[in-house]
């Protein structure tokens, strides 16, 4: 019953003051400074190469933006990292030791990778509070879940996240009644409740108003350095806002086309040709 493997990392909640996460990992070996390595990943779907020998590395604490035209393989890459899709060839490592291609979705989530889907996915028939409670880092096997009780410390943590995602005061609302932008934030809040070391955000500002987009950029900037974050996004203004001087990766036809700061990428001829110029 590997599926029920205990989650026995040392508990560091509160060890870093007001923390909604941590960079230094438990269980994941990041001694070489990288949290994620993708090496020569190829994914074939009925003869179509969704990813073509994609190699990519993310350092601890980095906020990496990934851009690319439709069909470049951005979502497939996230599927490979989170265990939803198995690579046809190539390896995906979390830290130095965890082979993601051999782990189930929930095991990867336990290891410390949180994912926000392209369309906001929250539990619509649960309240905002209950959504955060379910996501909270805990022993998620059947029996402990049946007898779980919220401690005041855990309640405090939920309140802290509620304030961060600006949903304090809405905690008893049904998540299905939230606006699109609020659902996106709630989903980010749920990721933070898991205390992941790597956060994957698939188009976090799709469908958001300008004000919501600006607020999301602010939120991600607050998280910078506390988690390693990978953002896949189409919205150039938003990417410029959050990438700052960090590395931006451009995907095209399943592999890396260019990599560098936003300014470098934007002046790259090939990038302009396939993506920005259109």
């Amino acid at each position: 019953m590997i599926a029920n493997a205990p989650n026995n990392g040392p508990d560091v909640i509160g060890a870093q003051g007001p923390s909604y996460g941590r960079v230094a990992g438990t269980g994941v070996d990041t001694s070489h400074g990288a949290i994620l390595y993708l090496e020569e990943i190829t994914v074939m779907f009925d003869g179509f190469r969704a990813l073509n020998k994609l190699s990519l590395g993310i350092s601890v604490g980095e906020l990496r933006c990934i851009i690319g035209p439709n069909g470049a393989g951005k979502t497939t890459m996230m599927d490979v990292i989170t265990g939803k899709t198995r690579p046809t060839t190539g390896t995906a490592f979390f830290g130095q030791t965890m082979d993601l291609s051999k782990m189930a979705e929930h095991q990867i989530a336990h290891a410390g990778i949180g994912r926000k889907f392209q369309r906001p996915t929250v539990f619509e028939h649960h309240t905002v509070f209950e959504n955060l409670e379910l996501a909270m880092k805990a022993d998620k096997r059947v029996r402990p879940t049946l007898f779980a009780r919220l401690s005041s410390e855990q309640k405090g943590k939920i309140d802290e996240i509620l304030r961060l995602i600006r949903l304090n005061g809405s905690e008893t609302r049904m998540a299905g009644l939230l606006s699109h932008g609020q659902k996106q934030w709630l989903e980010i809040g749920m990721l933070l409740m898991q205390e992941p070391q790597l956060i994957l955000l698939d188009e976090p500002v799709a469908g958001m108003s300008d004000a919501e987009t600006a607020r999301t950029a602010e939120l991600l900037n607050e998280l910078r350095g506390k988690h390693s974050i990978m953002v896949v996004e189409h919205d150039m203004g938003f990417v410029t806002e959050i990438a700052q001087q960090g590395v931006v990766t451009v995907l095209h036809e399943g592999s890396v086309l260019a990599q560098g700061t936003m300014a470098q990428v934007q002046s790259d001829e090939r990038v302009i040709e396939v993506y920005l110029g259109r």
Binding site: A3, N4, N7, T82, K84, A104, E105, H106, A109, H110, G114, R115, F117, T121, V122, F123, E124, H125, H126, T127, F129, E130, E133, L134, A135, K140, R141, V142, T145, L146, F147, A148, L150, M190, Q194
Partner: protein, 360 residues
């Protein structure tokens, strides 16, 4: 976020009143002679006793369908297996009083069998059969569920497989050589634990045990759905992939509720057989399982109390209808299902919620 009491004050009042009324029926039957204005006829007691078994089955179905979103169209098999497990004891308890005055049940004599087959070993013990009531449906559900859920079979595909399962079991039990009485099943029971099964006192005790089982199951289920595990189950229903990506393995949660539901359904069947006096393979016919789904849907899925009310009202209507217009019942049932789906998507429970909102 959660108050310490399982139900609201109103719901508690309703439950207590219903329990008192239900418990009073067999006592009024026993202590007031026929003809007395307070006398409750015996047929009424057995009818309500049967309805309580159905209500327990509907409650069990609501746990998997209403909360975890797993629609089973084969719960009849668990109900019947529980009934057969208990029936084995009841058959053994007949002793030599069968038509052939043999140690073996009549149907085995008829097949010219000389000894009990191996799987009947130990069934002369009431307690062993009681263990079988829990174990047989539980183990079947666990094994079936493990393979189905591990293969991520969901939605309508899962429902169809459950339907096929109950049908396959029905065919198996129809065979005389399976050793469960073929199409006649088990009947002509004489006694249970030494007491005559047709005595009014025995019937009253069986009735009260059924009431206690229904109430106990309701409280257990309510405690489960109000725990964090209950919220995880609703997560399985509403967004299973989200649940996986926040670190839950849906397999074990589904398997837990699926097996629990099968066991509760088996207990319902075990309580049904001594009160009704017969169990045969037609209980496993797909139509019976679908009827259970209708009870839950009419009452309101995902409310626990709703399916209980649904089982009582649909079966009450059925009793009246099959007496008044015997040929039209299935049409009426279909019509009820369609009307409920269109006008009361949350069932009778949704009606009370709407009414309460208007009051407020």
């Amino acid at each position: 976020m959660t108050s310490p009491s399982l139900f609201s004050r109103q719901a508690w009042t309703g439950i207590v009143v219903c329990c008192v009324v239900l418990a009073a029926l067999p006592l009024l039957n026993l202590f007031f002679a026929d003809g007395h204005p307070l006398h409750v006829p015996s047929y009424m007691v057995s009818l309500i006793g049967k309805f309580m078994c159905y209500a327990l089955a509907a409650l069990a179905l609501d746990m998997v369908w209403g909360y975890a979103g797993i629609l089973s169209l084969g719960h009849g098999v668990f109900f019947a297996l529980g009934a057969y497990a208990h029936g084995m004891y009841l058959m053994r308890a007949i002793g030599r009083e069968g038509s052939y005055a043999s140690d073996l049940p009549d149907f085995m004599v008829f097949l010219d069998w000389k000894t009990y087959p191996w799987f009947w070993a130990g069934t002369d013990s009431f307690w062993y059969c009681l263990a079988l009531v829990v174990l047989v449906p539980g183990v079947l559900a666990f094994v079936f569920g493990y393979f189905a859920f591990r293969s991520r079979i969901k939605g309508v595909y899962f429902s169809i497989i459950t339907q096929a399962m109950t049908y396959a079991f029905m065919l198996l039990f129809f065979r005389n050589n399976t050793g469960f009485g073929g199409n006649n099943g088990f009947t002509d029971f004489k006694r249970i634990l030494g007491y005559s099964i047709s005595a009014p006192g025995t019937k009253a005790v069986l009735y009260l045990v059924t009431l206690a089982a229904l109430l106990g199951a309701l409280l257990l289920c309510r405690a489960i759905v109000r725990s964090r595990l209950g919220r995880v189950l609703q997560g399985v229903r509403d967004s299973e992939s989200r649940l996986m990506f926040i670190g839950y393995n849906p397999l074990w949660f589904k398997l837990f509720v699926w097996t629990l539901s099968a066991v509760l359904c088996g207990i319902a069947g075990a309580l049904y057989v001594p009160q009704v006096g017969i169990i045969n393979p037609s209980e496993m016919s797909p139509a019976n399982s679908i009827e259970m789904v209708i009870w839950a849907a009419v009452g309101g899925r995902g409310t626990l109390l709703g399916p209980i009310v649904g089982a009582f009202s649909v079966n009450g209507l059925k009793s009246w209808f099959t007496g008044a217009f015997p040929d039209l019942w299935l049409f009426a049932l279909g019509l009820i299902f369609i009307l409920v789906t269109i006008y009361l998507p949350q069932g009778l429970a949704g009606l009370t919620a709407r009414w309460r909102k208007e009051q407020a």
